[in-house]
Subunit: 190 residues, 2 copies
DNA sequence: CGTAAAATGTGATGTACATCACGCAATCGT
DNA sequence: ACGATTGCGTGATGTACATCACATTTTACG
């Protein structure tokens, strides 16, 4: 499926755009290819864009003072990724984004998103709903972190996204779950 | 300050409404008073509303199978609270909301919010931005849970919301931080 | 293809926290 | 005002997980 069709189908789930509106909407995106391991946003960058994943898997992550990595999100096809705090406030990136596999993404400038949102009511509607879902998912994950032990969180993740098991190195899954790679290894090799 | 003025000032930070639009917007809210300890949303409820806090402190929380409570949010004046998952999807509440102190809130039906969003572009704009901020805050908290120990999280919370120390019982602060009340007690009585 | 680098498995040890148990202090409701 | 409830402090003990150390396996790539 072509980039345009993927995006169209994605939008259509929450908003109704005319053909002309969608053409205009789509014209604001830029197709980009990344190699495995390539950085999309690095800590300290000025963040000007957000990214819609067409193919491949990205990760958004934070590295603390001890060089330990924590993964906020695996972004799979039809997911969006950026450092939204930096993008909205104009501050520098504290969260980084890079490619776990080679990837195809559509890139949208924050300024263009705001322009589109103000020009086309349904686009604003779409982005409101997209963020709603992210907000709810983040709270669900907060509860999971506070409530469940590592094994339970691991099983939940594998039940929801079994493809991660084969497509993503285990130490990254550990960094997402908030456990050490050793502990994760012991969870499924008891 | 009156309810209307508080809400007006709150909205004005992110959206521009004409006087007529704001009157219409405000007319969809219903003022409600709650006593200390009173429930706003209970697990299992059909959730039809969200709540804008004028005065007092609410909490949104989850209780697990072992009857242990986890707090997702303390909602202080000008904050919003609900079970957004249930409100958006029509499912039953898994998250509850109640009042830590006596409280005054403005109550908005989900259906009315959607109507307002579709009728007034700037209202949709406002709600998009409100959720944006919540999304960013939730991710910040995820990182804090994964990255920092209990003492660090406690100090961050007290630095940002010192009023919680005096206004909210310690065991609720513990339930927000994701530690036992005993551990929290030992953090500030070393 | 062959070597370096990255990813994974596994034991030994340490630790931040939970849990249990109890006593005391503050607050609430009638 | 006074008993009941709720909140708080503190010791003793248990445990899930981190960390360190090193071996083994898999993958990347010149």
């Amino acid at each position: 499926m072509q980039a345009k069709e993927i995006l169209k189908a994605h939008i259509a789930k929450t908003a109704t755009l005319t053909a002309d509106e969608f053409e205009y909407f789509f014209s604001c995106f830029k197709l980009q290819s990344y190699k495995k391991g390539q950085a999309v946003i690095s800590e300290g960058d000025r963040v000007q864009h957000e990214y819609f994943v067409l193919d491949g898997i990205l990760k958004t992550f934070y590295i603390n003072d001890d060089m330990k990595m924590f993964i906020l999100q695996f972004a799979m096809p039809t997911w969006w990724a950026s450092d939204y705090n930096a993008l909205y406030t104009g501050s520098k990136a504290t969260v980084s984004v890079d490619c776990i596999t080679k990837a195809e993404v559509l890139c949208l400038a924050g300024a263009d998103r705001e322009k589109l949102c103000s020009e086309i009511h349904q686009v604003e509607h779409f982005f409101r709903w997209r963020t709603n879902r992210g907000y709810v998912a983040a709270h669900k994950r907060l509860l999971s972190l506070m409530n469940s032990d590592a094994k339970h969180r691991y099983e939940e993740l594998m039940a929801q996204y079994p493809e991660l098991f084969s497509q993503v190195p285990k130490h990254l899954i550990a960094a997402y779950l908030g456990v050490s790679r050793e502990t994760l290894s012991r969870l499924y090799n008891p």
